[in-house]
């Protein structure tokens, strides 16, 4: 599933003097669960609003499914952006009836999606009587209507309790297993780490990092080393200049790898200089650590 689903080319958008997006380019492929991360005001919702044609970019373009005419393609996309937008005086079923007619899909699909999100028993209750979490579930139901090829979720866990968050995670994982492409913007990095295959990190409207999530988490840029005599090893590593930022830690000595010296080379180099390493272990970072490091740079 390496087909282009969404290609964003050099999109820029400003609100008065405030730059919301600056030359953003992204390529999202079929089957990816793509996480869009960034602090408030980084441009996540603006990006999603532009690709859903709610707002127009000042410059740049985007293509859904390799086509520049996106009106019909939007019906292949289930979307929840920011807050759920429904009529409070209509029932859950009536609200979904409207979505179904817009997307030109049979109303029979409504019960299926309400069942997935656990709202089937409340289908005849008015939207205005729903709690925040139920409203969010209804918005997810609307996004799932018609079994779209792509799902876009902007903060899908908003207003949900822990059980609700777990349920939504399960829905996303199941939909991804069924081959759907999912684009989600979220602040809950733990959730993103659990469900996303790829991420892009935005800061002040600019893309600062993108890639596969396991590549981002396993940077292999830092390793822990230990030997029988860590003090001597520490002094040797500092003197040799083969690694940067040599520090002691609970797990041994933490060093930053600098190219072209990889961990295998360091192991060999230490051995040749009389240090037999007891352990050599790559330091993995959580997405949160990575994120904070990039954002605070």
């Amino acid at each position: 599933m390496n087909t282009d689903i969404l290609k964003i080319l050099n999109i820029s958008k400003s609100y008065g003097n405030v730059t919301a997006l600056k030359n953003l380019s992204l390529n999202i492929l079929g089957g990816q669960v793509f996480g869009l991360l960034g602090p408030n005001g980084s441009g996540k919702t603006t990006t999603l609003s532009i690709v859903m044609e709610i707002i127009k970019p000042d410059a740049g373009s985007f293509e859904w499914f390799g086509e520049s005419n996106n009106t019909n393609n939007r019906k292949k996309i289930g979307t929840l952006i920011e807050t759920p937008n429904f009529y409070p005086f209509l029932s859950a079923k009536q609200n979904l009836e409207i979505t179904a007619r817009i997307k030109e899909i049979p109303s029979s699909d409504i019960e299926r999606v309400l069942k997935i999100t656990g709202l089937l028993e409340r289908k005849n209750h008015k939207f205005g009587t729903f709690s925040l979490g139920m409203k969010q579930r209804l918005a997810i139901s609307a996004a799932l209507l018609g079994n779209p090829e792509v799902l876009i979720f902007d903060e899908p866990a908003n207003g949900l309790d822990p059980q609700g968050i777990a349920d939504i995670r399960e829905i996303i994982i199941n939909e991804a297993k069924n081959g759907k492409t999912i684009i989600m913007a979220s602040h809950i990095l733990d959730e993103v780490e659990k469900v996303c295959t790829n991420v892009a990190i935005l800061k002040k409207g600019q893309l600062i990092k993108t890639g596969k999530i396991h590549e981002l988490l396993n940077k292999n840029e830092q390793i822990f080393l230990s030997s029988d005599n860590n003090n001597e090893l520490f002094e040797f590593l500092v003197r040799s200049g083969i690694c940067k930022n040599v520090k002691t830690s609970e797990k041994g000595i933490l060093v930053d790898i600098q190219k072209p010296f990889d961990s295998a080379y360091i192991n060999k180099f230490c051995f040749e200089n009389g240090f037999s390493l007891k352990s050599i272990e790559a330091k993995t970072q959580s997405l949160e650590e990575q994120y904070l490091e990039l954002i605070n740079k």
Binding site: I54, T71, R74, N85, T99, I102
Partner: protein
């Protein structure tokens, strides 16, 4: 068209913001007709029952119906303003409608409302006709029948004007206020600064003149006034005649305004942040 209209009908089905003013419109109109038919005027030369005989009856029922077009316009302001307050226009775009389809849906709804109002006015006219007309006056039923079609155009024009204001302002209360202020004070004041041949072509003037008040003695028709200078009646053919436009010309002008309202609404909806 059917799909867009179905969507609009689902929206108004449980919307008290629609049903309350709609029922109010129907009840007020029926009550007004009932009251008018009970008024017994006894002036020399005037028989009040002649108001309810064809062809004058068309004039009476459409003129009274035109009083309540404000309510129809308020309904349009409410059902459109709701789309902005609940951000549902925005959601419809996300789900796959185009901005022009959003506008088309509301125009179809306006046509439905105007048609229902047309049917109710027609029904009431025929009921009153059955009560007050004899076999002779029934022969005149075709005369002035164009007034009910003109009433349809008038309703459409008022509602489209209300739609345009709501798309521009986005807020229900402010839109209603703007509509009423424009209708009852702004345009009438501005019109005073213009000569007759211009003031008759202001939008609200054109639209309201589509259903003129009944004129059973024909003394209110401007064409029948004679110009008076210094209090004297002048029959000189060169004397200035008051400006008058025919119903046909007035209808054409209203249709032009309808086109302008749609064009401006399309312009606004294409550019407005939803």
């Amino acid at each position: 068209m059917k799909r867009l209209l179905n969507i609009e009908l689902i929206k108004i089905y449980s919307n008290s913001g629609f049903w309350v003013p709609a029922i109010f419109w129907a009840v007020l109109y029926a009550a007004s007709l009932l009251i008018v038919t009970q008024i017994n005027v006894n002036f020399t030369g005037i028989d009040s029952t002649s108001f309810f005989k064809f062809p004058t009856l068309w004039n009476v029922t459409t003129w009274i119906a035109s009083w309540f077009n404000l309510l129809l316009s308020i309904i349009i302001i409410i059902v459109t303003g709701i789309e902005f307050s609940h951000k549902t226009f925005r959601q419809h775009i996300i789900d796959g409608l185009t901005r022009i389809e959003l506008l088309k849906a509301k125009i179809f709804l306006i046509l439905v409302f105007a048609f229902v109002a047309f049917v109710i006015v027609l029904f009431c006219t025929l009921i009153i006709g059955l009560i007050y007309n004899d076999s002779n006056s029934w022969l005149n039923i075709i005369d002035n029948i164009e007034l009910i079609f003109v009433f349809f155009i008038q309703s459409v024009a008022y509602m489209l004007f209300a739609l345009m204001i709501t798309l521009l302002i986005k807020n229900i209360a402010l839109s209603i206020l703007t509509f009423i202020l424009y209708f009852i004070s702004f345009e009438p004041i501005v019109r005073n600064f213009f000569p007759d041949n211009i003031l008759y072509f202001f939008p609200m003037k054109v639209i309201s003149n589509l259903t003129p008040p009944p004129d059973i003695l024909q003394f209110a028709t401007q064409a029948n006034f004679q110009t008076t200078i210094n209090g004297q009646v002048v029959n000189d053919s060169n004397a200035t005649q008051p400006f008058e436009i025919s119903l046909l010309d007035n209808t054409v002008a209203a249709m032009i305004y309808i086109a302008i309202f749609i064009f401006i609404s399309a312009y606004i909806i294409k550019r407005k942040k939803l």
